[in-house]
Every structure is written in structure tokens, then in C-alpha cells.
Amino acid sequence: MIELVSESRCVSCDVCIAVCPTNVFDAGAGGIPVIARQGDCQTCFMCEAHCPADALFVAPMTHPVPEGSPLRDEAHLAASGLLGSYRREIGWGRGRKPGARLAVGPELGPARITPAALP
């Protein structure tokens, strides 16, 4: 779920309010969007992909992370490179090569079926 709107990074473009498919954000005082309906977040990461300032962070869990979790800690997320990492991976942003250009996965054979005993 969406866990962080970084006040220091946010450029008040309100793109996240527009693009969220489940209407999680509202406009906030001082131009910083607020997470108004976290429970409606479907953890699709689309707000992060569209944020031009890498100011948003979506934790992968479909429930809120506890108070004090590193996944709500901006300093940790910035230092670990997680903040803005999805946008970087899909190659969105000025000067980046679109990830779509490279998106060729491995050949998929028949799915492995787990054997009764491993070698």
C-alpha cells in the first residue's frame, strides 16, 4: 500500500491524485497530496511510476505496514535506493532509456512440478 508522500521531494503537480485508479489521494494543504483513503489502495505501484519527483513509496504489502517500519521511513528508503526504484526500472524520466525497449524475459518451458524428494 501507499505509505509515503515525501514533502521534501513533492513538486505539487497533483499527478498522483489524477492517476490513482482507486482514488486514494486528496489535495492537501500547502500543495502536498494526502493519503486520504489508504484502505482503497490496490498496491498497483502506478502512482510511483507516474510521480516525476520520486516522492511516493508503495510498500508491496496489501495491508498497512506498522508504525516504525523502515518501509515508512523516508531516510531509509532514500538511502537504500528504494525510493524512485520502480520508475528507474521501467526507464521513465528524463535521460532514461524506456524499459519497454529491453523487456524480453527468458524463454518459458513447461512449468516445473516439484518432485517428491529433492536431489
Partner: protein, 528 residues
């Protein structure tokens, strides 16, 4: 409250791949088009957030024959060869247009663009820009709440709510395309919470039928407690019990029910993507960066660590059931109403087996094209008088109360979906003795919803979506009970064999009283 009142030749409900291709095609045919998305056209739905393979096959007879034949047995031979052919043709054309006209940046392999897949955010961002350039008017955050019909029952527009303006809207139109997606029952599967089966409810209220709703029990694999149902790379996985011993027979294809049974029994299944070479591991990251989001963010190395997995219901999004279409232009049994993408049945190209991934994406862009063209032609034929028709709302539950005494609301509807539709022992591992009581619970809540329950303004879309899920679930279980055999993904524990006497598609319909009707399989002669 003020109402935004618009007119259009064609209204498209839903802004995923099917809706955007429908809108583009209708606009190119000269129609004035309004597209409505309950969320945001460009991010809504499983394609935008998930990405997908595409059933893109060169127009060479041998390649096409192989593509068509490859999954026919899996699909219980319910596919229509003629439809498969025209979807392959249309998909080929659309993917080439996506490159030439929307400048989608396909990977280049051996000097040629590789078109067997699309990255979701990029694809849908470009579709949004493209339809705007074509003159389509887009209303985001504007869920449709009901269809409008004229006095002959012909569909003549939609009514809905603009949630960021808190106003109602009405669009009178010559034709409507429902591209609202499938129904994944708010399971939190990736990008699927907007897919609540709304279009099927609207269609049924106007008199349309469903087909293939028994093929609706798709569950995707995700790391436990996360949304990321990207299942493809689990073909490189080994699965384990909670104690670390191998879970024999488990697999992402042909062994997923073993995972479901173990989750039911113990609540835990572990996984490790331990069969991929270093080269394959690197390619996975390029192919599907979103597959790694949960791992990177939780500090898991999926290639060396054992991590817990779960199964999330993807319902008809990865199943094949939906609104029954009756002609090449994706028209329904109701004049003026067209269906495309996951909102429509995909049996014509997938039969009884999941259309998830490449087939559904090919279906979305092709059926969207067919429906957009059909709707534009229908609107043109009506002429200028179409917008002067006297119209009324077709919506029932939540809008126009029925006669029953009991009441249920959104809360009861969501609760019955969670208890009677999500569980693996009811919807996935199916047995009549469990389907029948589950259906009875759903019927009871439906009757309650049909009683005095009415919602207004901003509360209406949520109630209608909840009711749509209950309606979809009742069609699913009614069809699943009627099919007393195992065919494709619709398996019954007590009827494990395919029954030659049930070689048919199943139409299903009704709102208060449901019915099923066998339909002959079409399009097999073309195979000869």
C-alpha cells in the same frame, strides 16, 4: 445536485486496452466518442500495472495453425476457429499500428521489433495519448452506474458519478461499448480492484446474457501478503511445505491446485525460484521489473531464499467467462450494446481454459476494435434522431428498490464475497456439495440487496460494484453447478472426467431468477 449532461455517438465504459482500442476505432470511423473510466484511463486495470504477453503471430499458415492448435485440448475444444483467425489478424494489425502510430518502443531482436508482449505502464500511457489525439473525450474517475435505454429497450447511453467533482453525469449516445473488465472480487490481485464485473450487471439489467461463467476460477500466485500476481516466472520454482520439505506435485501450471490444497490444510506454502540460470535471472528483471517489486522491497532474494506464497482470486479476469456476444461486431443480444475485453466472454478464442496473458490481451485489442467499429456503425445508422430519444435508466439493485422485505447493503455483499467466493475450497477446488450452499448464501444477499437498499450520489458506485460482484458470483456458481463434468479450468471433484454429452458452451443469465442454456459450439467446421 447539478448533472453534467453530454451527448455522443459512442460511449465506451472502461479505459483499459479494450476500451481504448474501441474508442480509437470508433473515433477513426467518424464517431464522436466519450470514454468513461471509473479510475484513470492509462493506469486502471491489470494490463496497466501488470503488463502482458500478446498472442502476436506472423500471418503464415503454418505458424497460425500451430498457434490455434496449441491450446485447443486445454480449452476443451470450445474455441471457434474462425474467431481465432480474425483475432490473430486484428492483433497483428493493431500491434503493428502500436509501433508505427503510437511509437511504442518495442525491443529489437536480430534487427526486428519483438511484439510478443507489452510493458503495461508504457502501453497504456501511449493508448491514452493516442485516443486523445484521435479526439476522444475522456472522463476519468467517473464510474458508470447504469445504462440508459429507449422505449424499445435499445441501449441509448449511460448514467454515472464523477467522484472528484461529486456530481452526477449522463451521456446520451447512439451506442455503448462495455469494456469494464472482468471480475476479480476485490482480491487485491495486481491492478484488479477496479475489475468488479460492473459491465456484466449493467448488461444483464438491459437484458443481455453471459457465457462461460463456469470458467472463472483463476487464482494467481503472489508472495504472501502482497499484490504481485505475476505468475509466469514461477515455472522456474520449487514449492515447499512450511517445514521446508518439498511439496510434491506443486507447480505454477498443472500443480497449482496442490498449492491451494496445502494452503487450505496448513496455511503456508514456501517457494524458491531455484531453477533459473544466472542468465535467466537477469532476463527476468528486464522482462518483468514489477515481478521483483515485493522481493526488492522486503529484502528477499527469490533465487536463494524460501519465501511464503499465496493464491489471489483473479476470477473472470483470467477466466474466460463474460457477456455473451452474438456477432462479429461484438454486439450482444441487446440492440445498441457491445462488449469487449474481459467484460466479454473469451471462449471464442480460449474455450474453457484461462485466457490470462497473451490470449486475453489479443482479445482485448481485437474485440475492442470490432466493438468500436460496430458501435460507430450502429450509431451512424440511427442518424441524428438518436440523441432526441426519450431515455430511462435500466439499473435495478441499489437504484430502484424491489419488493422483497429483507435488506442487505455493501457491507453484507463484500462479506459474502469474502466468505463464499474467495476461498479455495469453494471456488477453486469445486464440489457440488460446497457450491450449492455457497450459492444459497449469495442468493440470500442478492435478495437483500434487491429489497429496500438504495444509495445516492457518491455512495452509489460502491454499492453497485458490490452488487455486481454478487451477480457475477451467482452466474459463476450457477454455471459451475450446471456443468457436471471437468472441462478446461472448470473442474468438479465429483465429476473428474470430460463428458462428451456436455460438449457445449453454457449461456447463463437472469438477475433474481437465474437460468442456464446449452449453446452449440461454433466455428469448428472451419478447422477442416
Amino acid at each position: 445536485m447539478s448533472t453534467l449532461d453530454l451527448t455522443a455517438d459512442v460511449v465506451v465504459a472502461g479505459g483499459g486496452p479494450a476500451g481504448t482500442w474501441a474508442a480509437l476505432t470508433a473515433a477513426e470511423a467518424g464517431a464522436d466518442v466519450v470514454l468513461l473510466d471509473k479510475g484513470y484511463c492509462g493506469t486502471s486495470g491489470p494490463t496497466a500495472s501488470g503488463g502482458t504477453g500478446v498472442w502476436y503471430v506472423q500471418p503464415e499458415p503454418a505458424a497460425r495453425e500451430k498457434a490455434m492448435a496449441s491450446r485447443e485440448a486445454l480449452g476443451g475444444f470450445l474455441q471457434d476457429r474462425r474467431w481465432m483467425g480474425r483475432v490473430l489478424d486484428q492483433t497483428y494489425e493493431n500491434m503493428n499500428r502500436l509501433q508505427a502510430e503510437a511509437r511504442y518502443p518495442f525491443p529489437i531482436i536480430d534487427g526486428k521489433p519483438y511484439k510478443q508482449g507489452v510493458q503495461g505502464p508504457e502501453y497504456m500511457r501511449r493508448m491514452r495519448s493516442w485516443i486523445k489525439r484521435a479526439g476522444v473525450r475522456i472522463l476519468d474517475h467517473s464510474p458508470v452506474t447504469e445504462l440508459l435505454v429507449d422505449d424499445t429497450g435499445t441501449v441509448a447511453g449511460v448514467r454515472g458519478h464523477r467522484r472528484r467533482h461529486d456530481t452526477a453525469y449522463r451521456v446520451r449516445a447512439g451506442a455503448v461499448v462495455l469494456a469494464t473488465g472482468g471480475c476479480a472480487f476485490l482480491s487485491k490481485a495486481l491492478g484488479c480492484d477496479v475489475a468488479t464485473g460492473d459491465g456484466a450487471l449493467f448488461a444483464a439489467e438491459a437484458g443481455a446474457e453471459m457465457s462461460g461463467m463456469e470458467f472463472s476460477n483463476a487464482y494467481g500466485i503472489a508472495p504472501a501478503f502482497t499484490s504481485v500476481t505475476k505468475t509466469a516466472y514461477y515455472s522456474f520454482a520449487t514449492f515447499f511445505r512450511g517445514d521446508g520439505t518439498p511439496l510434491a506435485g506443486a507447480g505454477s501450471q498443472g500443480g497449482r491446485s496442490v498449492i491451494a490444497a496445502e494452503l487450505l490444510r496448513t496455511g503456508i506454502v514456501l517457494c524458491q525460484i531455484d531453477q533459473a540460470t544466472a542468465g535467466q535471472q537477469e532476463q527476468m528483471r528486464l522482462g518483468q521489473p514489477n515481478f521483483f517489486l515485493p522481493f526488492d522491497r522486503l529484502g528477499i532474494n527469490p533465487f536463494t531464499d524460501k519465501f511464503p506464497v499465496t493464491l489471489l482470486l483473479e476470477g473472470t479476469v483470467r477466466g474466460t467467462g463474460g457477456i455473451r456476444i452474438v456477432a462479429d461486431d461484438c454486439s450482444t443480444t441487446v440492440p445498441g450494446l457491445y462488449a469487449a475485453g474481459d467484460a466479454a466472454t473469451r471462449e471464442l478464442i480460449c474455450g474453457a481454459f484461462t485466457g490470462g496473458g497473451s490470449h486475453n490481451s489479443a482479445w482485448a485489442m481485437s474485440s475492442g476494435t470490432f466493438a468500436g467499429r460496430g458501435a460507430a456503425a450502429f450509431a451512424t445508422a440511427l442518424g441524428a434522431g438518436a440523441r432526441q430519444r426519450k431515455v430511462s435508466g435500466a439499473g435495478g439493485v441499489g437504484i430502484r428498490p424491489g419488493a422483497t422485505a429483507t435488506t442487505a447493503g455493501r457491507r453484507e455483499a463484500l462479506d459474502v464475497i469474502r466468505r463464499q467466493v474467495h476461498p479455495y475450497d469453494k471456488n477453486y477446488l469445486r464440489h457440488g456439495s460446497r457450491l450449492r450452499p455457497a450459492l444459497a448464501h449469495l442468493d440470500e444477499v442478492w435478495d437483500g440487496l434487491r429489497g429496500a437498499t438504495v444509495a445516492h450520489d457518491g455512495d452509489l458506485p460502491g454499492l453497485r460494484q458490490a452488487a455486481a460482484m454478487v451477480a457475477n458470483a451467482r452466474w459463476m456458481y450457477t454455471s459451475a453447478i450446471a456443468r457436471t463434468e471437468s472441462r478446461g479450468m472448470a473442474r468438479r471433484e465429483e465429476h473428474p472426467e470430460q463428458d462428451p454429452n456436455q460438449y457445449h458452451r453454457l449461456a447463463v443469465g437472469g438477475l433474481d431468477r437465474l437460468w442456464t442454456r446449452p449453446e452449440s459450439v461454433t466455428g469448428r467446421l472451419a478447422a477442416a
